[in-house]
Amino acid sequence: MPLTLSPTTTISTEPAKGANTATPIIHLSAVGKRYGNHQVLSNINLDVHHSEVVCLIGPSGSGKSTLLRSMAFLEEYDEGEIHIEGRLLGWEIDDRGRRKHAGRNRLNQARRNLGIVFQQFNLWPHMTAMGNVTEALVRVRRMKRSDAEKRAMTVLEKVGLAEKAHQYPARLSGGQQQRVAIARALAMEPKIMLFDEPTSALDPELVGEVLAVMKQLALEGMTMVVVTHEMGFAAQVANSVVFLDQGSIVARGTPSEVFRDTQHPRLRQFLQNYLDRNAFWHTTPEQEN
């Protein structure tokens, strides 16, 4: 189905149930990062609240993936602060007020409730789906193997792959691999899920099954930050959409504000470009019925 941003597109603008607007679960203030002379992120201020779904969109090279990876400290942001559940992520301030790398324990403490899903799945190919899911349960959470396997079956069922539990990743399709990766993150019972272009490496036909799992998670109240090119997903699921360009947030708002009402020229150009690429058949809402 070609994606049209017609006025009939359903958009949920109300905050998710149980959303706590008081204290953000992720808090970014004035976050910046540079590679040498190149400023990849500058002055990013962003709050994500409990049960909120935030989609990061923007052209390639806009810094959206870097921003998401910073939220797990896979990229070291070098200006500003990121707080996860009130804990400063990745850095600690020493006696003289200078920042230095937080120790491994402290870093892991800050991202304890964080799950991350990557564009390239990053499953461990020498372990079965079950092995991938149980590894951290056994090694990090110190669960008994039998308990870990029980939990793993539960999450694999959740992503619809219980019958593939004993397959190696090489025997799974891209979509199935990504769902195993989601299950691996979910098994740790995170409060926040970060998705870094989770469907960009997939054949178009396999995108749907991954998005369906993500939609389900959003409905269940998971706090999610999603870097995506799937505007349909963003429009239907996100509470807010953030548009980045050249390392800065240039527009943000509800899906309808960003996709429909925006007057921002760079954002309009980006969306038009997206529509041109994806609309291979011109349909109007009347013709669809």
């Binding site: 797990a72 896979l74 491994r104 892991n108 991202r111 304890r112 964080l114 799950g115 991350i116 990557f118 390239q120 990053n122 499953l123 461990w124 190919p125 020498h126 372990m127 590894e135 951290a136 090694r139 990090v140 190696y168 090489a170 025997r171 990766a181 691996r184 993150a185 740790m188």
Partner: protein, 220 residues
Amino acid sequence: MTFDLTIITANAGAIWNAFLVTIYTWLAGSALGIVAGLVIAALMLFGGRPLQLLLRGVIELVRGTPFLVILFLVYYGGPAFGVRLGAVTAGVLCIAGYSSVYFAEIFRSGFAAVPRGQLEAGECLGLSRFDLLWRVQLPQMLVLILPAIVNMLTILCKETAVLSIITVPELTAVLTGIGTRTFTFIETLLVLCIAYLLLIEITSRAGRWLERRVGTYLQR
């Protein structure tokens, strides 16, 4: 030309012992070399810049020195520094030291071949550096580097022949000794070649078998 294998059967006991010495120096030296190589590679990976540079220097130094010269330095040069080793011990240690830098390079390439993303995923799940090395990197890289390891083992097998020069009573020393004493070069050298061929053939076959075994997960 005479061809008289009775010289071999007459010395069968000595040749068998020499065969065992060859296998011992080869396998003990290689095993130590593999462990040392893994340690060097891991230290270069996690040890920080100064250590990395130091180890790189050591690797280049050892790689730039012929095995025979290393052997002389340790066995004949050692006593000048108060290191007196028996011939067999010196031989084993030299094979270990010599091979460790090659194994280190093999391991380093293996570490590099495991995609970074897999480590990031593990890191975010809270896995420790050691867990990542032991559970994620090693099992995968062993599959990738197995052919290179087997290759190195076959080279080292033949390299033990050099130990004959420092009087280690291994195959080459014993068989050439018999040959020169009795002028039966063809017979002794033939047995020598067959013995090395045999060891290397067994190694290659074991390597291929192991490759199939550990590589099953890669098959679609």
